[in-house]
């Protein structure tokens, strides 16, 4: 164990722990922008600076390991001023588009600006429409909003093992760009970790503000991984999918199907009424008519040919409860064990 003092509090942590983690462990909050729980420290934003007694310059807490006996200060007028400068520097090229930005309301940058009470317009850059070189058409990259924290590229490399994107250029023209376009799997991991509105889903914009949408935690409908995801609902419409970093086998990750494959739910081609075929063509019917007809036909066939003349296929896409009822229906109501599903396939 290593002993240290943070803001007058004595803390003991395991060797190799960073100052940031030690502070969080002690219940002390240090502002951060680029640090992300699931990623190795990036150390790009300098919001997390702290003073260490005996050292002239502040150190970044997210990637500095603790050492025995150090005395750390996380809050001082000097640190506050430096952090403020860091933020202001970001805002020189960052337009405060908050009212029309998808991230407004849950943006780390916006929150920090609020916390540091930065007022007035600092934005100076000429807004030029730079062509986005992002590797997937499903994600829109807003170069002006990007604070170059590198969470996206780090996540793509560390979590996905792909490295499809990286930082490119210098000064005002720095941006995130595709370095390995073919590797991109359109998984949206980069959107999930981006602390700002620099990456947004490209399936539609202005679909609902974060504080207006209702987020319902559920299980993905596609594959057996069983990822946990939140369906974002606004006015009974699905406006997006989000995840929580600490929930489920996926811990915040999804694949392209889970994150972007929700449009089918609201497809115009969805069946909305029971259909009965007459003379080779389908006609809309009421539930009573349709169910009545099915019951009558099944009863008839059971009476004349026996229960085993009827077979049922249940579904690997339906819930457990529905599968249970389907086999119960075939066994208890029809009276046959002719029940299967396509899992073998």
């Amino acid at each position: 164990m290593v002993n240290l003092t943070i803001d007058g509090k004595e803390v003991a942590v395991k060797e190799g722990t960073t100052i940031l983690k030690a502070a969080r462990f002690a219940g002390i909050k240090i502002p951060t922008l680029c640090y992300h729980e699931r990623l190795n420290p990036i150390g790009s934003c300098r919001m997390c600076i702290v003073e260490i007694e005996g050292l002239a310059h502040p150190m970044t807490a997210c990637n500095t390991p603790v050492t025995e006996g150090i005395i750390v200060t996380t809050d001082s007028p000097r640190l506050q001023k430096m952090r403020m400068e860091t933020l202001k520097l970001l805002l020189v090229k960052h337009p405060l588009d908050c009212p029309v930005c998808d991230k407004g309301g849950e943006c780390t940058l916006q929150n920090l600006i609020h916390e540091f009470e930065i007022e007035g317009t600092i934005y100076q850059a000429e807004r030029e429409d730079r062509e986005s070189l992002y590797p997937t058409p499903l994600i829109h990259y807003w170069p002006d909003r990007c604070i170059m924290c590198l969470r996206c590229a780090t996540a793509c490399r560390e979590i996905k093992g792909l490295g499809a994107i990286d930082i490119d250029g210098s000064g005002f023209n720095t941006s995130i760009t595709a370095v390995n376009r073919d590797k991109c799997e359109s998984c949206g991991e980069c959107i999930q970790v981006c602390p700002t509105g620099a990456l947004t889903e490209n399936l539609g914009r202005y679909k609902g503000r974060p504080w207006m949408v209702n987020r319902v935690m559920t299980t993905c409908t596609y594959c057996g991984c069983g990822c946990q995801l939140e369906i974002n609902v606004f006015n009974n419409r699905i406006v997006g999918i989000t995840t929580k970093d600490d929930i489920g086998v996926n811990k915040g990750s999804l694949c392209v199907k889970g994150r972007f494959g929700y449009e089918f739910i609201e497809s115009e081609e969805r069946l909305t009424k029971p259909l009965i075929k007459k003379d080779g063509r389908f006609h809309e019917a009421s539930w009573d008519e349709a169910l009545g007809l099915v019951a009558e036909k099944l009863k008839g066939i059971k009476a004349s040919h026996g229960a085993d003349a009827i077979a049922g296929l249940s579904s690997a896409r339906c819930t457990n409860e529905e599968n249970y009822l389907m086999q119960k229906f075939m066994r208890a109501v029809i009276g046959t064990n002719n029940i299967d599903h396509c899992a073998r396939l």
């Binding site: 929930i247 694949c255 066939i301 249970y324 009822l325 029809i334 073998r344």
Partner: protein, 545 residues
């Protein structure tokens, strides 16, 4: 998953996926996990990149995961038993098997040993095309690792020898004492999201919920009592493939199909089409008018996962909540509502206030789900078996002993696939999925997002074969088997081996399953999707019209 059930007494994933981070070696075979189980693939990549775990990939296709592998074996499709027996042979010869574990926890080792005697690396190389030095290398790597885990999917099961393939993998895992411990195990990855749940809940012709046999009197009586009926059948019913065959013979007159689209997903589509047409009455319940629904007499509109409450069980056996996010579209209704209403009209009352009440009933009749309540899984799912409300669930199976008592080795000989290439049909066809689409495409092909990325079917063909056929990427070819033919656009790719063409099966314009063969594994009844013989010819005008 009959193979695993024979070997261990249970057919599910033995370990949670996160366990691969604790493995020394991971062997992945017949599973293109980066595309089919992308999040599980994240774990495998993390294990390799961050934990230094060594990865062995055995796959006829050069799948993306090969980039992360220390060893890649490329067997000819359909030769799985041979190469696995080859590994067993080398491991035993090198004395790397877990003698103590074998003695205490398994049976049938002597027969196995005798059987694999002849599978020396040279012999296996002849059958599988795997160089003997590579095979030995893989055997030593897997054999020396402790613990090592195995993952497989439909590339292993979709063969007429599917059950044999799985039993062979079980042999390998047990031989090295890798079942029943952290970081080890043998893990079948389930394709569709709730395959595990559908099996668990008794959507199978031979078992009730929790794999309780329909032929067992005690079990039968329990269900009769709970359901309030006199005489449930004790004879095993028909499997999906048998059902369709029975319609042709006139034995099955009516079918009720919920949420499946066999007309695109099942092998030999022409045959299925004929079967469906010969039915007297067909009810299809789905969210879209699928190819199968087109043939229905009555179509009942169900709802998507976003419009219903319930649970799914993932591949790790974890029972997790599904929650309603939006109201059903139009007059569409939850499948559970539809079944209850239909049941009522047939004179049997199913009354449930909500899906959680259905779960309450499931718990009372299903020992492995007995401790699972909606309350308990509100935040986090629980992996079965979970026999009581104070039981935490079981992430790792077979810890102290196998579900069947002793693990059973099976001595298995290699058998050739049902149909191999010949003069007339010189190519091997294999079918499968791509990342952007899902199963028969009924869901993934309806929105713009996924179609933007993968708009049309692309059949993969090896560069050397492309030269032979005189085609370039983007050209159209006709792929013909003894059962039918389809026209497809091609992409030249290193992924398939020479002589092999890969066709994804999500696309109704060119249904790959017109070509596939209706030969099934005699035990698991899984059709042989992965191997059949075809002829490939260039379309003259190159446009596909």
């Amino acid at each position: 998953m009959a193979g695993l059930a024979t070997a261990f007494g249970s057919g599910a994933m033995t370990n949670p996926i996160a366990d691969v981070l604790k493995s020394e070696v991971i062997l992945v075979t017949g599973s293109n996990i980066t595309e089919n189980h992308p999040i599980f693939a994240n774990y495998v990549k993390e294990a390799v990149l961050k934990k230094g775990v060594r990865l062995i990939v055995v796959d006829p296709r050069k799948i993306d995961l090969v980039d992360y592998a220390s060893i890649w074996l490329r067997p000819k499709p359909g030769t799985d038993v041979a190469w696995i027996n080859g590994l067993l042979h080398v491991i035993i010869k090198e004395n790397l098997h877990a003698a103590e574990y074998i003695k205490e926890r398994t049976e049938g080792f002597e027969e196995l040993q005798a059987c694999v005697e002849k599978y020396n690396p040279e012999y296996v190389s002849e059958i599988s095309g795997i160089p003997s030095s590579d095979l030995i290398n893989a055997a030593l790597t897997y054999g020396k690792a402790k613990p090592a885990s195995i993952m497989y999917a439909m590339g292993i099961t979709q063969h007429i020898t599917g059950t044999d393939n799985v039993k062979s993998l079980a042999n390998l895992a047990m031989l090295c004492g890798n079942v029943g411990l952290e970081g080890g195990g043998i893990n079948p990855l389930r394709g569709q999201n709730n395959v595990q749940g559908a099996c668990d809940l008794g959507a199978l012709p031979n078992v009730f919920t929790g794999y309780q046999p329909v032929a067992n009197d005690e079990v039968k009586q329990k269900f009769e009592k709970t359901w309030g009926v006199d005489s449930l059948q004790s004879t095993v019913g028909l499997t999906v493939t048998e059902m369709f065959n029975a319609t042709e013979e006139g034995k099955v007159k009516a079918m009720y199909i919920m949420g499946e689209n066999p007309l695109l997903s099942d092998p030999d589509v022409h045959h299925i089409e004929h079967c469906v047409k010969s039915l007297e009455f067909l009810v299809v319940q789905d969210i879209f008018l699928t190819e199968t629904a087109e043939y229905a007499d009555v179509v009942l509109p169900g709802v998507s996962f976003a419009e219903k409450d319930g649970t799914f069980t993932n591949s790790e056996r974890r029972v997790q909540r599904v929650r309603r996010a939006i109201q059903p579209r139009g007059e569409a209704r939850e499948d559970h509502w539809i079944i209850c209403e239909l049941s009522k009209r047939m004179g049997y009352h199913m009354d449930y206030g909500s899906p959680s009440e259905i779960m309450e009933e499931i718990r009372t009749v299903t020992p492995s789900y007995a401790g699972i309540t909606y309350e308990r899984i509100e935040k986090e799912g629980i992996p079965w078996p979970c026999p009581g409300e104070d039981h935490p669930g079981t992430p790792i199976l077979h810890l102290e002993r196998f579900a069947r008592g002793k693990g059973l080795f099976s001595a298995i000989d290699y058998k050739k696939p049902a149909e191999l290439p010949d003069k007339e049909y010189p190519f091997l066809l294999t079918t499968g999925r791509v990342l952007e689409h899902y199963h028969t495409g009924t869901m993934t092909r309806k929105g713009k997002a996924l179609n933007m990325l993968y708009p049309e079917l692309l059949a993969e063909i090896n560069p050397e074969d492309a030269v032979g056929l005189g085609i370039e990427s983007g050209d159209f070819v006709t792929v013909a088997s003894r059962r039918g033919d389809i026209k497809v656009k091609t992409i030249i790719s290193e992924r398939p081996d020479r002589g092999v063409i890969f066709v994804p099966f999500h696309f109704k314009e060119s249904p790959a399953n017109i070509l596939t063969i209706n030969a099934i594994d005699p035990i698991a009844k899984i059709p042989e999707y992965k191997v059949c013989a075809v002829r490939v010819e260039r379309q003259k005008d190159r446009t596909g019209d």
